[in-house]
């Protein structure tokens, strides 16, 4: 099987050595996420957003007034592409290889992220399901709250190494562990 050589993850070199059991605070790097960029034509933002929020198996992430990311960890890229290309007045492009998806969770997650992000992530302000693009460890990252103490971070592939190292550094005092997840 040569598939592992073809799909070598960018953070493979950063996550080396033996794998430990995950601590309560854990950063998991999703091995093969499906990430699509969706842009709406001017004047059609509301209908594209509605279609995107109603789409199955896809989690929408807000980037800007005309722009979203569609993330899926369950279905393949072809399925997502077929589904998204049916949305009228939207342009869709596969970004799966250009972005890295990480999930950080645990009781200390907000303290860890406070060292990385200059945006208020209090659950009353940044509630569950909310997402936004913001500066995270000097890189423009899309951060979404997927649970009470769970956040998903999407960063450009070329910056993933430095963001990952910075996140691990911020998590050291909270015993943050890391590992790949499918």
């Amino acid at each position: 099987m040569s598939i592992h050589l073809l799909h070598r993850h960018v953070l493979e070199d950063h996550i080396s050595g033996f794998e430990t059991d995950p601590n309560p605070n854990h950063l998991s790097v999703i091995r093969r996420p499906v990430i699509f960029s969706v842009l709406a034509r001017a004047g059609h933002e509301a209908e594209v957003a509605e279609a995107l929020w109603n789409a199955e198996d896809v989690a929408p992430r807000l980037c800007g007034p005309y722009e979203w990311l569609a993330v899926s960890r369950t279905v393949g890229a072809e399925t997502v592409e077929a589904m998204l290309s049916e949305i009228a007045n939207a342009s869709v492009i596969d970004q799966s290889d250009g972005r890295v998806l990480m999930e950080i969770s645990g009781p200390g997650v907000r303290k860890i992220l406070a060292g990385c992000v200059a945006v208020d992530l209090h659950p009353e302000v940044f509630e569950e399901g909310r997402s936004a693009t913001m500066l995270c460890c000097h890189a423009a990252a899309n951060i979404a709250r997927t649970g009470k103490d769970t956040f998903e971070i999407i960063v450009p592939r070329s910056l993933a190494g430095s963001v990952f190292e910075a996140l691990m550094e911020m998590g050291r005092e909270h015993a943050l562990t890391r590992g790949f997840a499918d």
Binding site: A132, T133, L135
Partner: protein
Amino acid sequence: MASLITCPHCGTRPKEEFSIRGAAAPKRPSPTAKDEAWHRYVYVRDNPKGRYEEYWHHEAGCRRFLVVERDNLTHEVFGVTDAAEFKRGGAAE
């Protein structure tokens, strides 16, 4: 320097997320305008003290161009609008 900018799309964000792209008040001359007009537009700029309209690009957020009206003396921010709306408002005048 105004350190917190309330982006109309993203909410209150630190200034590190933006890059400043110059004054918003000068009107861009037409492509066929004389060289003098273009020279004035590109190189001869006022450096006012006080209230000031400026293009800010929200690079690390929504990636929209915004027009920030601020006081460059007191660091007070009076208003932030999307540059597209600013242009539309200007055209209506």
